[in-house]
């Protein structure tokens, strides 16, 4: 268990069986009063954010979290399938469990899979991925009022905003954390 004096950002804890990561920790002690830790927690399973207050000295359970590098294989009705390239062990996660990261998965992409108590709970894609634009309108319609970008659909089904000079068939680099276009991939 972790005691309040060990609290810090990035700590992985468990509340009622659900794993959370501590994204903020504030030490509050009103004059001559009790000390509290006011923390903000993000669920590693659902992504929901919780605010909690703990009295100084209270303890929370540690979350048993492990991270493994795995390769994305394919997806079907059962979900998204990943394989550990050394043990050949496979896991399946649903689209809901993947939150936003389904948008960046291409065959054989290496990702980090988070396990809680041995069960896969989420996936983190690499920071940058290269994806082909499978559909977008041609550029420069001469309509400056629409701004300097247009939506483009990528091979995974994700939609990102791209500059007008980018065309269907181009392979682009995307920042997976922000979902934003970076540049065209070097060929």
């Amino acid at each position: 268990m972790y005691s309040t004096n060990e609290f810090r950002k990035g700590l992985k804890v468990e509340i009622d069986g659900e794993p959370f990561i501590m994204i903020d920790n504030q030490f509050v002690k009103p004059g001559k009063g009790q000390a509290f830790n006011r923390v903000r927690l993000k669920s590693l399973v659902s992504g929901r954010v919780l605010d909690r207050t703990y009295k100084s000295g209270e303890r929370i359970d540690r979350a048993n979290i492990e991270e493994f590098k795995m390769q994305y294989l394919y997806n079907d009705a059962a979900g998204y399938h990943f394989m550990n390239t050394s043990s050949y062990e496979q896991v399946t996660l649903t689209k809901e469990q993947l939150e936003d990261s389904w948008q960046w998965l291409t065959e054989n992409l290496e990702v980090s899979v988070l396990f809680h108590n041995g069960r896969a709970i989420s996936v983190e894609a690499p920071y940058f991925v290269e994806l082909e634009i499978t559909y977008c309108e041609p550029g420069f319609k001469g309509d400056t009022a629409t701004g300097a970008s247009k939506p483009a659909t990528l091979s995974t089904g994700a939609v990102v905003q791209v500059p007008l000079f980018v065309n269907q068939g181009d392979v682009i680099r995307v920042d997976t954390r922000s979902g934003e276009y970076l540049d065209r991939a070097r060929r």
């Binding site: 004096n5 504030q26 030490f27 002690k29 004059g31 001559k32 009063g33 000390a35 605010d51 207050t53």
Partner: protein, 321 residues
């Protein structure tokens, strides 16, 4: 932090200490130094003193680092020192955060013949004069908020502050009402929170952040059960402790009292705090008999302790202390 930032900070601290000393000396205070390693630290259920084993000719003894120089300074006032101040380090185990360190610097002073209301006026002057000496304009800012120390400081009673920012009357509210209030303000309370816990939760998260915006603000007349070493003014509806705290931009800068001089009541409070420590699973501290013996000679006086590091943070715009 880069080494050059450290050098800037130590120069700023030196200027602050110099400014405080100049103001205090001009105000007729005598600077004193009292022991930092003592046999009996201040007894408070929420404050823990680090300890050390000290060897002397009589053997090995457990000594504590002071959490405040209060007991020794009051002995000096009782012995006829007149107004005194001390600038020195104090220690509080387990306190760490943006505004807390286990070791920090306190300015503690006592003025015989004063009470908490008069001392508030004196502290206001001290802080304003220090700001005037150290800054082009006595205005401080932090995280986008500004506080003008030139303007007269506001004063609000604790009961009124709770009515205004928590919507509860402390004279009537029990644990359940305070709990509902906290929940209504979106403040998650710890599990199994009793009335005292909820009071501190509301104070720390709902009241304090509202104080000292735009101008310095004193919070005073605390509930009698939060009296620490202050006199209590009885009242059928809401007994109050003659205690005050100064806030600037939501940061607590100092804690002051119209000091208790009744040795019997003081002993009772120390024993109650020790009992509360034991109930919280903490060790009780030895009672300072020298302090209690000196108390009958203590003249009516007011005292206060100010966090010098926090004052520096506000004046010089530091992010943390």
């Amino acid at each position: 932090m880069a080494a050059s930032d450290d050098l800037i900070r130590i120069r700023q601290r030196a200027r602050l200490l110099g400014a405080l000393r100049a103001e205090l000396d001009a105000g007729g205070f005598l600077e004193v130094e009292t022991p930092a390693l003592v046999g009996s630290p201040g007894v408070d259920r929420h404050i823990d003193a680090p300890s050390a084993t000290v060897r002397s000719s009589t053997g090995s003894e457990r000594r504590y680092l002071i959490t405040s120089p209060e007991y020794h300074m009051k002995r000096l006032v009782a012995a006829g020192s007149g107004p005194i101040y001390q600038l020195g380090k104090v220690w509080r185990d387990g306190e760490a955060g943006e505004l807390h360190r286990p070791e920090f610097t306190l300015l503690e002073l006592y003025r015989p013949g004063s009470d908490h209301l008069a001392l508030m006026t004196e502290v206001e002057r001290l802080v304003r004069e220090a700001a005037r000496r150290l800054l082009p304009e006595p205005v401080v800012q932090r995280r986008g908020q500004i506080c003008d120390l030139e303007s007269g400081f506001a004063r609000i009673r604790v009961r009124d502050a709770f009515r205004r920012w928590a919507g509860v009357d402390l004279a009537r509210a029990g644990a359940e009402e305070l709990g509902a209030c906290a929940a209504g303000l979106g403040l998650a309370a710890p599990q199994r929170a009793d009335r005292e816990t909820l009071y501190h939760l509301l104070m720390g998260l709902a009241i304090e952040p509202q104080l000292g915006r735009l101008r310095g603000e004193f919070l005073y007349d605390y509930p009698a059960d939060q009296c620490a070493l202050a006199q209590v003014r009885p009242d059928p509806e809401f007994a109050v402790a003659e205690r005050f705290e100064l806030y600037v931009l939501g940061i607590e800068l100092c804690n002051g009292f119209h000091e208790l001089t009744d040795a019997v009541e003081q002993r009772r409070r120390i024993e109650a705090e020790n009992a509360a420590r034991v109930a919280l699973g903490k060790e009780p501290y030895p009672v300072d008999e020298d302090f209690l013996a000196a108390l009958p000679a203590l003249p009516a006086c007011a005292g206060m302790a100010l966090g010098v590091d926090r004052l520096a943070l506000l004046l010089f715009g530091w992010d943390t202390i």
